[in-house]
Amino acid sequence: MTVGTLDATEIRTRRTKAAKSRELAWGNPVIYFIALLFVGVMISPVLYIVIGGFRTNSQITVDPAGWPHPWVAQNYIDVLKNGIFWRSFANSTIAALATTVGVVALGLMVSFVLARYSFRGRGALYTLFAAGLMFPMTVAITPLFILIRTFHLMNNLLGVILPGIAFALPVTVIILVPFLRAIPYEIQEAAEIDGCGRMGFFFRMVLPLSVPGVITVGILAFIGSWNGYLLPLYILNNQKSQTLPLTVQTFASGPYSADTAKILAFTSLAMLPALAFFSLFERRIVGGLTGAVKG
């Protein structure tokens, strides 16, 4: 990289400036302003949904842009008091956690193979997974349903978890392979010299080093499962086994109409766990590889 000649004073000034900007200070107010502006734009539709839960349908029709007048807490209370809500909440949580664990484990294993081994079918294997992205679920659902029924997994959360893992694998593989490939060969060599096999390398080095990628795919898998609607709709007939997105519909939609305000309240509450999961783990995305491979 070429750098023009600079005199000593300039270098000194820039060095101090560089040092200062790395402090955990409040930072540049302009940046904050821009950030807050963007955040405001992103959040307002969500706020609309949350606050909409505090209104009645009539209020929303008559005064779409207004504040709740009066504030109606009944929708939220009805949802929180409802046993069905909590049961579907539990079902959704189980399904999402199981799917996430499955996706991360299986995805990591197969991505490791694709990234660090070389063998004849490698390209075909990668294409196989990538191709899975390109076929819409809505068409695959009919034969998939027959399959799940054959395995006697109807009304069973496993009937949602296993296909859920399968459908989340393509994105996982596509994201993880570059991450795993980026681990420098020197580390692998060093591990082998030290006597670790490829497996030891996997567990001791790869896992910790690929944490940002793993966290990312884990989050995506969790949210995908949490919001999944089509698969549970067809597999989970029994009310006892239903997940949250299904319950919204049966909870708040009659044969001819929909209770919009209640749906808004319900979904505002339903999005909280996925958000919680994200905020728990997002810190780990940062600070993964930094400084891991010092000279």
């Binding site: 009539s58 209020q59 044969p255 001819y256």
Partner: protein
């Protein structure tokens, strides 16, 4: 290579499993009648043992309670029959049902829409023919015309629960405010009313064109007025819309739409989906009338500020159209019914269907669904004046047709719906509506 081999083995296993799935039996329990005659639930001494699953779409409001009560009442008469009721959201019901029927895992009793869907199910042998299982009580209570909607190739496949005729549901207060003294009887009256309402600053007609069928209903009603009964029936049966009366219907609608009678943003207004729907507009006095089916008072009632029925709601039938070959009193409507699947345990299943046709059950279903019952004996129990008005006009009708898109089948019906919306959006004309229907034939 190991990986490849395991792939192959998996594939073979899965294909074999699929093959086996085709032979597996469906759901449903056993049934063992122990003497006694069949017939109305009140007098039967037959003691069936069975477990039945039932899928219905009345998921909120009074719906769940109705089903709990009904199942309990049935259990009193048949203590060994267990019925599991499964509420399914209305929009999802058809897809779920179709997949379940195909997968061999269908419910025993389910909501039946009739029309092309029934034809497809019957052709595939999935739905039970109950022509001979309908008992005398049911035949007496429910008029033959109601059964006609669920008859296919001269076989009856379902027992009707509610009839849902269509027409205009309007706000008497808003009409009065605009100075309209009498409900429109002719198309000219309707145009006049629209003018008066616009002058008073009120949106004349609420239209949920986002869902397409509310817009298409206008076309269907114009077709009902323009085409003779004979032409209509032939066209519906053969899916042939070449008769000029259908073109005329489109022209009528185009002319009507040109007077700008619909609410602002009608293209993105939904029909019933909660706040902001066309029903919501009526419920909150933001529009004066809408052309809908008899479920509307209930929907409107759920969207009013106090969530009670709109007190000033009224009904008038579709007006006559000058020069139309159709009878000006003819009505068009839909029907909700229940069918037995072909694999359901019999006679327990049809016995339950007959039970659904009894007066008490018909009455409570009508109340729960806020819609007129199919049974004429239960009709007396309807207290809502708007529904009474609807039923009265339905009785006086020269003939009743089912919704045209139901009769024409999903494929053509859907294409018609799209064609009408396109015309209202300025992207088509009366001829393109017919063309859309014809083009659809190639796809299915």
């Amino acid at each position: 290579m190991n990986a490849r081999k395991s792939l192959a083995i998996t594939a073979v296993t899965a294909v074999a499993a699929l093959g086996l799935a085709a032979c597996s039996s469906g759901s449903g329990g056993t049934t063992t009648p122990t003497g006694g005659a069949s017939g109305g639930a009140q007098t039967s001494a037959a003691d069936y043992t069975a477990t039945l699953t039932l899928w219905e779409n009345n998921t909120t409001g009074k719906g769940p309670q109705f089903w709990t009560d009904t199942v309990a009442a049935y259990k009193k008469v048949h203590p060994n029959v267990t019925i599991n009721v499964q509420p399914v959201q209305n929009e999802d019901l058809d897809g779920k049902l179709q997949t379940a029927l195909n997968g061999g895992d269908a419910p025993d009793i389910f909501l039946q829409r009739g029309g092309g869907k029934l034809a497809a199910m019957a052709d595939a042998g999935f739905v039970a023919d109950i022509t001979n299982a309908i008992d005398a009580n049911t035949k007496a209570a429910i008029p033959a015309s109601a059964f006609a909607a669920d008859t296919y190739k001269d076989k009856i496949y379902a027992v009707p629960m509610t009839v849902l005729p269509g027409g205009f549901f309007y706000s008497k207060d808003l009409f009065k405010q605009a100075g309209i003294t009498d409900t429109p009887k002719t198309l000219a009256d309707l145009n006049d009313a629209v003018t008066k309402l616009k002058a008073a600053g009120i949106a004349p007609v609420a239209l949920g064109a986002k869902d397409a069928w509310p817009a298409a209903h206008w076309w269907y009603w114009f077709a009902l007025r323009e085409c003779s009964e004979q032409t209509l029936n032939t066209a519906a049966d053969t899916a042939n819309l070449s008769d000029p009366c259908f073109l005329k219907a489109g022209q009528d609608l185009q002319a009507f739409a040109a007077t700008k009678p619909f609410n602002d943003g009608f293209l993105t207004t939904s029909a019933q989906q909660g706040a902001g729907s066309s029903a919501g507009l009526i419920a909150n006095h933001k529009a004066a009338m809408e052309l809908m089916g008899a479920w509307d008072p209930g929907v409107i009632g759920s969207l009013t500020p106090d969530q009670k029925n709109l007190p000033d709601l009224g009904f008038f039938p579709f007006p006559s159209v000058p020069g139309g070959a159709g009878d000006p009193t003819a009505m068009m409507g839909g029907l909700d019914a229940f069918s037995c699947s072909a694999k359901a345990p019999q006679p327990a299943c049809t016995d339950f269907l007959n039970f659904l046709a009894t007066d008490a059950i018909q009455e409570s279903y009508s109340t729960a669904a806020s819609a007129p019952p199919a049974s004429s004996k239960a009709a007396a129990a309807v207290t809502d004046p708007v529904l009474q008005s609807v039923m009265a006009y339905n009785q006086k009708a020269a003939y009743v047709s089912q919704w045209l898109d139901t009769r024409l089948g999903q494929n053509i019906g859907n294409a018609l719906n799209t064609g009408v919306v396109d015309m209202l959006a300025g992207k088509g004309d009366p001829a393109s509506i017919i063309k859309a229907a014809n083009d659809a034939a190639a796809k299915g």
